[in-house]
Each structure stands twice: as structure tokens, then as C-alpha cells.
């Protein structure tokens, strides 16, 4: 079958969406005081609610996949359509007009970061085994990267992988693993050689989270939920087929994921917090709180909107290139920096508009609910690589400044 024109594809997508989803009730206009007022990026729902949300995400991803919209740009052999980025854009634009479940738990890390890494570095039979399952929503993937002594300095990982016949045996502790509680797959960055410089003794593996010896323990964060986890690996046996890239060459593989992460973290927008942080909602809030005549607040509002628009453009370009298989360069750090900065500014703008009401749970619609995002904002400056690391990357890799003295 030849490539459908964008117009034909749009018709096809519209027909699919009409058959499987409900158009959004309004065109994005916000009626202040109506509807849910939760403002959250990290889930702090009770376990059952969160499970139901994850199930809804899986179901919607499966529906997309079965109808040819699950992996629009992906290779056909793994269930993709091999269409262009423009097709992908058209679909995203159309889907935004419908009420559909948020699929971030599947797409942000698994499809956005780990799938491109697998395409570049995993064996074809492994990709055949896992990629369709990932894009069908059956397999959620997580990054087993950070460790107690390997945070910003990720190359310092100590989790050991030791060769044993056709297998490797993994032992160690991972931490800050987002979504591990829902994941079927994990990408583990391990130490395989201690007698070479640290970047040269790393190997990466794809592991099944249900394998014996994998233990996930939740960590509670100050914004309420327990989105991230500690993951203990205790004599986990991994077949050599699940190795990604060459032995001791895992740093290159890891960098593929990290660069996609920087593009992806910004590219997904504000995720679950998209609606409350939207221009329409902030504008409604500005009017509802009577702060629309305050010059200072108006200026902050305008600045936030301008930055949001610029960041959206930048990161969508970057993410689409990444989805098409181009490895983002160090400039992806700009998107990550701006993403954190914007959400932080929006939370502060909301704090300025609602005033101290944000601090006490008074039951006022749209006020205290923001405190969750306010408490979540420090995390945006940490996750996916700290701001300090992003700035060092821009300084050294993009601007060509000398390294900081050791």
C-alpha cells in the first residue's frame, strides 16, 4: 500500500476518533469553578484509582495500535506504519480535539526514550518480542538508571552484571525509578568492568520486571504521591540476548536514552497538568481572582504564555525528530531547562493569583489544589537530569567552554 496523502490520512484518523472517542465538549474555553480542579503532574491517587488510570491508558493505546495509530512513524515489522512525522503531527493535532485517556505512563519513558534506544541497539528478535507489546500498551517500560551513588554522575553505576554461561547475573540497587510499579520492562545500566575508566565498563540490559530477584519498593515524595521507587536486583538472571549494544559499550546506549529523555520530558508538555496550566485556564483564573487589572500579574502572565509557546514549538520539533529516529543533540538540554522553568513559573503565577489560599485546604475551587503542583515544581528541576547538569552540558558541549577543574 502506498503512503496515504495527509488529507486521506486525516480523514482516516477522524473516522477512527469519531468511532472510538468523544469530541471535547468545548473548544478549550474554561468555565471557572466547573469541573475537576486537580493540578498535578505526579499522581497521588489511591492505588486503585491509579491502577484504573493506567488500565485506561493501556486500553486507549491498544485501540490506537489496533487501528493503525499506535506507532505512526514506526517500522512495519514491529507494528508501525512507516509514515512521516507530518502524519504523526496530523494525528496528534486531531486527537487533541477528543477526550481520550492520558497515556503518558506508557509513552513518556517506554515509547519516548526506551523504544528509540532499543531500535538503535537491541537485537531484532528482542525488538520483535517487545516493541509491538510496548506500542500495544501491554508492556510499560522504566529506566533502571540512578543509584544511591550514581545520580548526576550516572556513569558511576555500581550494579554488577557478571557473565554466567549464556546469561548475566545482575546485583545492585536502583533508585528514583519512575513508574517501576507499573512496568513490565526495565532498561538496566550495569557495571561489567571495573578495571577501565568508568564510562568504558558499562553494559545495558533489557529485563523483564517479573523475573525472579526484581523487587520494587515505593518512595513517597513531598507532593503526596509515590511515583518513584527503589528497585533491588538480587541475582537476576538475564539472557545475553537481552543485552543492548556491545559488552562495556553501554554508555553509548545510555546516552541514546538520555538524549531522548531531554527531548521527551519537555515534548510531552505538562502531562496530566496540561489542562490547569493551559493558557485558557490561567486566563480564567486571572479574571476569577480579580488580578487581571494588576500590571505586575499581567506581565507575569504574558511572559509565561510566551515562554510556553516557544518551549512547545522547540520541544515538539525536537521530539518529532527523535521519533523519526534522529538522536537529539546536546541542545535538547534547552528544552528540558525551559520545561522546568515554565512549570515553576506557572505554579508561582498561580500562587500570586490565589494568594495565601493556596496554602490551606479551604475547599475553594481552584486554589489549594495548586499547592500540589507548587510542591511538585522542585522535581521538574531535578528529574531527567538536574538543571545544573543541563547547564554544564550547554556550556561544555554546545558552547565549547572548558570543563570545570576537577
Amino acid at each position: 500500500m502506498s503512503t496515504p496523502s495527509l488529507a486521506d490520512f486525516a480523514d482516516e484518523a477522524r473516522a477512527f476518533l469519531d468511532a472510538h472517542a468523544t469530541p471535547r465538549a468545548s473548544d478549550g474555553a474554561v468555565v471557572w469553578g466547573e469541573g475537576p480542579d486537580r493540578v498535578t503532574y505526579f499522581s497521588d491517587e489511591p492505588f486503585e484509582v491509579e491502577q484504573a488510570n493506567v488500565q485506561a491508558a493501556r486500553d486507549w493505546q491498544r485501540t490506537r495500535f489496533e487501528n493503525g495509530f499506535g506507532w505512526i512513524t514506526g517500522p512495519k515489522q514491529y507494528g508501525g506504519r512507516e509514515l512521516s512525522i507530518a502524519h504523526d503531527l496530523v494525528y496528534d493535532g486531531l486527537e487533541a480535539g477528543y477526550d481520550v485517556p492520558d497515556t503518558g505512563v506508557i509513552s513518556l519513558i517506554g515509547l519516548g526514550m526506551i523504544a528509540p534506544t532499543m531500535l538503535a541497539h537491541a537485537r531484532p528478535e528482542i525488538n520483535e518480542q517487545y516493541l509491538p507489546a510496548m506500542f500495544r500498551g501491554d508492556a510499560i517500560a522504566c529506566q533502571l538508571f540512578s543509584e544511591p551513588n550514581a545520580g548526576s554522575d550516572l556513569a558511576n553505576v555500581q550494579t554488577k552484571a557478571v557473565r554466567d554461561g549464556d546469561d548475566w547475573v545482575l546485583n545492585g540497587q536502583k533508585v528514583w525509578t519512575s513508574g517501576a510499579q507499573h512496568a513490565q520492562l526495565g532498561m538496566a545500566v550495569c557495571r561489567t568492568n571495573t578495571s577501565v575508566p568508568k564510562h568504558k565498563g558499562i553494559t545495558t540490559f533489557l529485563i523483564d520486571m517479573s523475573w525472579e530477584g526484581v523487587d520494587v519498593r515505593p518512595l513517597r515524595q513531598m507532593s503526596g504521591g509515590a511515583e518513584f521507587n527503589e528497585v533491588y536486583l538480587d541475582d537476576v538472571r538475564v539472557p545475553d540476548t537481552h543485552r543492548m549494544g556491545e559488552v562495556d559499550d553501554g554508555w553509548r546506549v545510555t546516552m541514546t536514552t538520555l538524549l531522548n529523555e531531554r527531548a521527551s520530558v519537555g515534548g510531552e508538555g505538562a502531562g496530566p497538568a496540561t489542562r490547569p496550566t493551559s493558557r485558557a485556564n490561567l486566563l480564567a483564573m486571572l479574571k476569577a481572582t480579580g488580578r487581571d487589572t494588576d500590571g505586575g500579574v499581567r506581565r507575569d502572565f504574558a511572559r509565561v504564555i510566551a515562554d510556553q509557546a516557544a518551549t512547545e514549538y522547540l520541544t515538539s520539533q525536537m521530539m518529532r525528530r527523535a521519533r523519526a529516529g534522529d538522536l537529539p543533540g546536546p541542545e535538547a538540554s534547552v528544552g528540558k531547562l525551559m520545561f522546568g522553568q515554565n512549570l515553576t513559573r506557572i505554579a508561582h503565577l498561580a500562587a500570586e493569583m490565589t494568594g495565601p489560599r493556596m496554602l490551606a485546604d479551604t475547599g475553594d475551587w481552584g486554589t489549594f489544589s495548586w499547592n500540589e503542583l507548587l510542591l511538585g515544581t522542585p522535581a521538574f528541576r531535578i528529574l531527567g537530569g538536574t538543571e545544573e547538569i543541563m547547564k554544564n552540558i550547554l556550556g561544555e558541549r554546545v558552547l565549547g567552554l572548558p570543563k570545570e577543574p576537577a
Binding site: D153, P356, L359, A360, T362, G363, N371, P378, I382, T386
Partner: protein, 312 residues
């Protein structure tokens, strides 16, 4: 004027830490009595009050000590009364520092002065929300009638602001200590985090903000007996402390990395307490706005009335 020398102060600080760390059943008042606290206060009220509240902030203790300061400045004869602080939420008539079980009467400031109302008639519920560890209560429902009491609320409020400023400084110092310790111990790229300029600058900025707030507080004490200047100076000190907590807690959380975000570590408690104390007796944003307005109109400082009326 400061009377206690450095050595005496260190000894007092240590005793106060023990007082706040003491989790026995004896109440705080009994523990302070044992320490002979009244004598320290009489000898050097500035140092005593500042140190007491700094240690309360460090310990993240939630007590009613502030009531004693405010009531003492209003009229020492009323000691033992509680205080209803101007509401900073959209519901409720005000905030109490704890339940009223041991109180008979509560003093309520309003636009005309202060009245005393029966504590038993107040309907309370925990403030909850952002700082889940405080004992603070919101008074809901209508306030009961009460008789007018003499005393200058503006002076009492200034005394309260000096004390809360010290408490915020204590919260900030403890958070900075935690961040300094962490960045000394934690190593990445083969060296302590604290050896990176990006990290140490944030800690230096935090230190500067805390010291600026501490200076403003000392300055406020130098005019504490002057009824014309004390309210302005106390308001400035509180504004400075409030903005310091914003600067300091943002930075100390950042340098702790993901450790600063979990409930497993103590940092989130400082963030929550700092933000909540900032609201008590006027946030830094409100206070500087009010000062700006007063300067423009040439109004003398009667800040509480303004803030009270401005609260939605």
C-alpha cells in the same frame, strides 16, 4: 541591647535545643521554667526571644509560645490568653496556634482594637493543608461577642513579627545546615557536590539571604521601644525573613537533588513550615506591598488592619 556574651548564648542555645527535643509528657512551659527562662528573658529580651524562636524553627516545633510574646506586648496582665491571628485563608475568622483546651479566653484583634472572647465558644478545625505537621487551628463560624481590652495591637503585632522572623530564620538555618552537610558528604564525579560552583553558589546565596534577614531583625530590635518606628521595622524584618525562606528553601531543596523531594528525608518539613510561617502576621509579598502603599500615601503603619481587610 544584647547583654549575653557569646559563650552564654551558646549554652542557652544548647539548653533550648534540649527543651525542644524533650519529648517527655511535661509541657513546654514546665521545661522552660526548669531552665529558668524568665530570668534569661528579663536579662536580655532581644537575645532570649530571638534564640527561643530560632530554636523553635530549627526544631520544627509547633507551640503557642508566640501567644505569650504577643499578649506580653499587649498587656502582661492578660498572660495566659490565646491569640486569634488574622486569617490568611478565605474561610474562617482567623488562625490559632493550637487547640484551645487549656485556654479560657482568646484575644481577637480587629479594626477597632482587641476584644477578648470565650475560648469554649470557638468552633475549630485543624488548618491542615500545606503544613500537615503544625497544630494550627482555623476558627470557623461566627466569632462570639467579647469585651474590649486595653492595649496596643500594633505594638503587639510588631513583637509577634519579630518572633516569627526569628522562627523563620531558624527554619532556614536548619535547612541550610542540612544542605551543607549533604553536599559535603555526597560525592559525584569523584568529588563532593559542594565543590561544584553551581552548588556552592546556591548555598552562599542562601547564607546571604539568612544573614540579611537576621540583620533586619536586629535592626528591628534596636527600635522596639519606639512606638513610631517599631511597627515599620518589625514589618520590614518579617518581610525580609519571609523572602529569605523563599530563597533558601528553593535552593536547599535543589542541591539535595531527588533526596530533597521525598518524604523520607526531612527537607520537605522545612519547606512546608517556612511557607506557612511566611503567611502568619502577613506574607513578605503582602508586607512589602503594604509598606509601598503606606510610603506613597504617607500613612503611618497600621498594617494588621489593612491586611485583615484585604484578605478575601
Amino acid at each position: 541591647m544584647t547583654v549575653l556574651d557569646t559563650e552564654a548564648r551558646a549554652a542557652v542555645a544548647e539548653s533550648l535545643r534540649d527543651v525542644f527535643a524533650d519529648d517527655s509528657a511535661r509541657d513546654l512551659a514546665a521545661r522552660l521554667d526548669e531552665l529558668g527562662w524568665d530570668e534569661v528573658v528579663n536579662e536580655d529580651p532581644e537575645t532570649a526571644t530571638t534564640m527561643l524562636f530560632i530554636e523553635q524553627g530549627r526544631a520544627l516545633a509547633s507551640t503557642s509560645l508566640l501567644d505569650d510574646v504577643v499578649v506580653g506586648a499587649l498587656d502582661p496582665a492578660l498572660t495566659g490568653h490565646g491569640v486569634l491571628y488574622p486569617s490568611f485563608t478565605s474561610v474562617g475568622a482567623g488562625v490559632l496556634l493550637g487547640p484551645v483546651d487549656d485556654l479560657e479566653r482568646v484575644l481577637v484583634p480587629d479594626a477597632r482594637g482587641v476584644r477578648s472572647v470565650p475560648a469554649a465558644a470557638l468552633e475549630l478545625r485543624p488548618l491542615g493543608g500545606f503544613d500537615r505537621h503544625s497544630a494550627w487551628q482555623v476558627v470557623v463560624g461566627a466569632l462570639p461577642d467579647g469585651e474590649r481590652v486595653a492595649g496596643d495591637w500594633v505594638a503587639a503585632e510588631a513583637a509577634g513579627r519579630r518572633a516569627v522572623s526569628a522562627e523563620i530564620i531558624g527554619v532556614c538555618r536548619a535547612a541550610l545546615d542540612l544542605a551543607v552537610q549533604y553536599t559535603r558528604d555526597r560525592r559525584q564525579y569523584g568529588r563532593p557536590l559542594g565543590s561544584f560552583q553551581a552548588v556552592r553558589h546556591q548555598l552562599a546565596e542562601s547564607y546571604a539571604a539568612i544573614e540579611a534577614a537576621a540583620s533586619a531583625l536586629s535592626a528591628a530590635w534596636t527600635v522596639s521601644a519606639d512606638p513610631a518606628l517599631a511597627p515599620w521595622a518589625a514589618r520590614s524584618a518579617k518581610a525580609k525573613a519571609g523572602s529569605a525562606q523563599d530563597v533558601v528553601l528553593r535552593r536547599t531543596v535543589q542541591v539535595l537533588g531527588a533526596m530533597g523531594l521525598t518524604e523520607e528525608g526531612p527537607m520537605h518539613r522545612f519547606v512546608e513550615r517556612g511557607a506557612t510561617l511566611d503567611q502568619l502576621l502577613g506574607s513578605h509579598g503582602q508586607l512589602v506591598e503594604q509598606t509601598g502603599r503606606d510610603l506613597l500615601t504617607g500613612t503611618p503603619a497600621h498594617p494588621v488592619v489593612q491586611i485583615w481587610e484585604d484578605t478575601p
